[in-house]
């Protein structure tokens, strides 16, 4: 090998290793997008995700000058043989006022199944203002075969809710997590 060729190979290797660094960096970036997305949505409330742990009761007064309709929707994901629906489909609240509603669930199969309800609020921007104090979605719901249960949800709507939003829809999707339970 001549001097120039060695020199050229050295240069090639230099550029090559820099580019490989970008490649691995971008591969990592793809995965970094997962937590970044969560943080971004947390701050902006873009994806309609609600708080995942209990909020404390709101004490700064009820805004009686406004009313907000809160609608409840439930659906079951494919493969979970449960009946799952809100006891009350719609409720009118004043922002800041704490309300308690119930959802009914029944395991219509003969085997034990653990369910997990995942909430989502529409419009997405309202999600950050929908505060759950107590919710069956905070924990998993084990039901024996043919067992039925009424599950509670305690919430309030933050008075900071943008003025143009007068109706919130809270949707629960129930998933079968029997095989995937942590405990």
């Amino acid at each position: 090998m001549t001097v120039e060729q060695t020199e050229r190979n050295k240069n090639n290797k230099k550029v090559l290793s820099k580019l490989m660094l970008i490649v691995f960096g971008m591969f990592g970036f793809g995965f970094a997008l997962v937590p970044l997305y969560d943080v971004f949505c947390d701050i902006t409330g873009l994806n309609g995700k609600t708080n995942e742990s209990a909020a404390t009761t709101y004490t700064d007064g009820i805004d009686t000058s406004r009313t907000v309709n809160v609608q409840f929707i439930s659906r079951t994901a494919q493969g979970i043989p449960w009946k799952f629906e809100p006891v009350q489909r719609e409720i009118t609240v004043h922002p800041g006022e704490t309300k308690f509603v119930k959802f009914y669930a029944k395991n219509e199969s003969n085997r034990d199944i653990i369910g997990q309800a995942v909430p989502s609020v529409s419009p997405g921007l309202a999600a950050a203002y929908f505060q759950k104090i107590e919710c069956f979605c905070f924990t998993q719901q084990p039901l024996k075969g043919n067992e039925e249960v009424e599950m509670g949800l305690q919430f309030y709507v933050d008075p900071e809710l943008p003025k143009d939003i007068s109706t919130l829809t809270l949707s629960y999707t129930l998933y079968d997590v029997t095989g995937k339970v942590d405990s």
Partner: protein, 534 residues
């Protein structure tokens, strides 16, 4: 610049060391080759075979859609056809064809003896056939081929997968590795092996567009690898990246996918810009109008491509601010793209034009790509996108930019450099048949799709409402005609390899560039001594 002080004597010596020159024979020559021209040829043939394969799938799709009702295939198999058609055309036909051009032409255009990393070059080609063998083999399995669309949205590809997800994921991994290696090779070659005196702003525009495309590939192919890996673990190893039951988010899949997917569409069009920017000046016998603005326009398109991905997702329920942001950013891309179109037109303005086949394909490219660009602009508008989303309007749009855009530029380039590759002139009359048959049939094929989409015909559906029947019949006829027309191209190429009028070193009198300073056909080794650029 390292090449600057290489003396003639040393570099001659070099080349003898480097390639111990004796060509192997038979299959071994192709398996072991590290020669950029051999590898370029392999890439080009491979992509043409893939074009015919993907085209054959499209023929079945159009046969099914020839009339309403289910005739030929089951809906699930129809989904497999559209999915694999898309994957093959994107990753098997268009992208490898451009890598083939890069391999053949880049070293000759910048006065380099070969690509910078020849062994990696061999490797990056030879893993490709395995990727597509894996993908296509799934057709013959019980589960069937992937049926969730080439965009493989979760949970279609996870929870509701037919069992082909693993094959799909590994095929995409291999394609990705191949593209990344190809792109790294292009960047290293351009950065380190330019002839002395060839500064960045003296590089042919063709080289510039491949340089920028290679950077895009290096930036986004790893993200694709990441997202398919998440898909794999979600489907088979119980993670919940995209599964709401475990705290994931299916919409996040679309964000990550399109973060790759939007730059990807520019990966498939920027090299086309480079090819057309080479050919139009040659047959206008003028210099390319606005060279520097072309370089800046290409770079700005590449940069903007990273911040527009969510325009594919307007209907997912984004807040107004997000919709406006992505709408305006997307429309902004029309500015540099417009600069390019105006530059091509200005290059032709008052030129001494002749209309050989490469020029015909290039002019068709400019007009038809612009139509595709305009329908893209329509799709960029959030309010109307709600109507166009997932209709045939979208299908019409991306086929205008990918078929009459990318594919036409590939044909233009192939005809332009065939004399250099084979040493023979191709048959001008046969190639004109190819052009006119393709031009008429491709418009019959894709233009009515705009109307179908505006009238509300959804894409990826094997059956449709009666009122769409007439247009679909014409579209299918156009499709069959376009498919058959591509066989003329095969005939032209084979005829050209076998013989024909002897090509001179520079068969096009308006052509410029170092590749025309070497003999036709290009000798196995070129520019062992780098030329000097003033």
């Amino acid at each position: 610049m390292t090449t600057e002080n290489i003396t003639t004597e040393q570099s001659d010596h070099d080349s003898h060391d480097e390639h111990h020159d004796h060509k192997m024979t038979g299959i071994k020559r192709w398996l072991y080759t590290t020669n950029h021209k051999d590898i370029g040829t392999l890439y080009l043939w491979f992509s043409f075979i893939m074009l015919l394969t993907g085209g054959a799938l499209a023929m079945v799709i159009r046969a099914e859609l020839f009339q309403p009702g289910l005739q030929i295939v089951e809906p699930d198999f129809f989904n497999q056809l559209t999915t694999v058609h898309g994957l093959i055309m994107v990753f098997g036909a268009i992208m490898p064809a451009f890598t083939g051009f890069a391999n053949w032409m880049l070293p000759m255009m910048i006065g380099a003896p070969d690509m910078a990393l020849p062994r990696m070059n061999n490797w990056s080609f030879w893993i490709l056939p395995f990727a597509f063998a894996i993908l296509l083999s799934s057709f013959f399995m019980e589960s069937g081929a992937p049926n969730f669309g080439w965009t493989f949205y979760a949970p279609l590809s996870t929870t509701y997968s037919n069992g082909s997800t693993a094959f799909f994921v590994f095929a995409v991994h291999i394609m990705g590795i191949s593209s990344i290696m190809g792109a790294i090779n292009i960047v290293v070659t351009i950065m380190n092996l330019r002839a002395p005196g060839m500064t960045y702003m003296k590089m042919p525009l063709f080289v510039w567009t491949f340089f920028i495309t290679a950077y895009l590939l290096i930036a986004v192919m790893p993200v694709l690898a990441g997202v398919v890996t998440m898909l794999l673990t979600d489907t088979y190893f119980g993670t919940s990246f995209f599964d709401a039951a475990g705290g994931g988010d299916p919409v996040m899949f679309q964000h990550i996918f399109w973060f790759f997917g939007h730059p990807e569409v520019y990966i498939m069009i920027l090299p086309a810009f480079g090819i057309v920017s080479t050919i139009i000046p040659a047959f206008s016998r003028k210099k390319l109008f606005g060279y520097a603005s072309m370089v800046y326009a290409t770079s700005s398109i590449a940069l903007l491509s990273f911040i527009v991905w969510a325009h594919h997702m307007f209907t997912t329920g984004m807040p107004l601010f997000g919709e406006l942001f992505f709408m305006y950013c997307t429309m902004l891309i029309a500015v540099p793209t417009g600069v390019k179109v105006f530059n091509w037109v200005a290059t032709m303005w008052r030129g001494s034009l002749t209309f050989e086949t490469p020029m015909l394909f290039s002019i068709a490219f400019v007009i038809l790509f612009t139509i595709g660009g305009f329908s893209g602009l329509m799709l960029a508008m959030t309010p109307v996108d709600f109507q166009y989303h997932d209709t045939y309007f979208v299908v019409a749009h991306f086929h205008y930019v990918l078929v009459t855009g990318s594919l036409f530029s590939i044909y233009a380039g192939a005809y332009y450099w065939l004399p250099k590759w084979t040493g023979h002139m191709y048959s001008e009359s046969l190639s004109k048949w190819h052009f006119w048959c393709s031009l008429i049939s491709v418009n019959l094929l894709f233009f009515p799709m705009h109307f179908l989409g505006l009238a509300g015909m959804p894409r990826r559906i094997p059956d449709y409402a009666l009122q769409f029947a007439d247009f679909n019949k014409w579209v299918s006829i156009g499709g069959f005609a376009f498919g058959l027309s591509q066989l003329i191209f095969l005939a032209v190429v084979i005829k050209c390899i076998r013989g024909g009028a002897k090509a001179e070193a520079k068969p096009w009198d308006g052509a410029e560039g170092l590749e025309w300073t070497v003999a036709s056909p290009a000798p196995y080794h070129t520019f062992s001594t780098p030329p000097k650029i003033d």
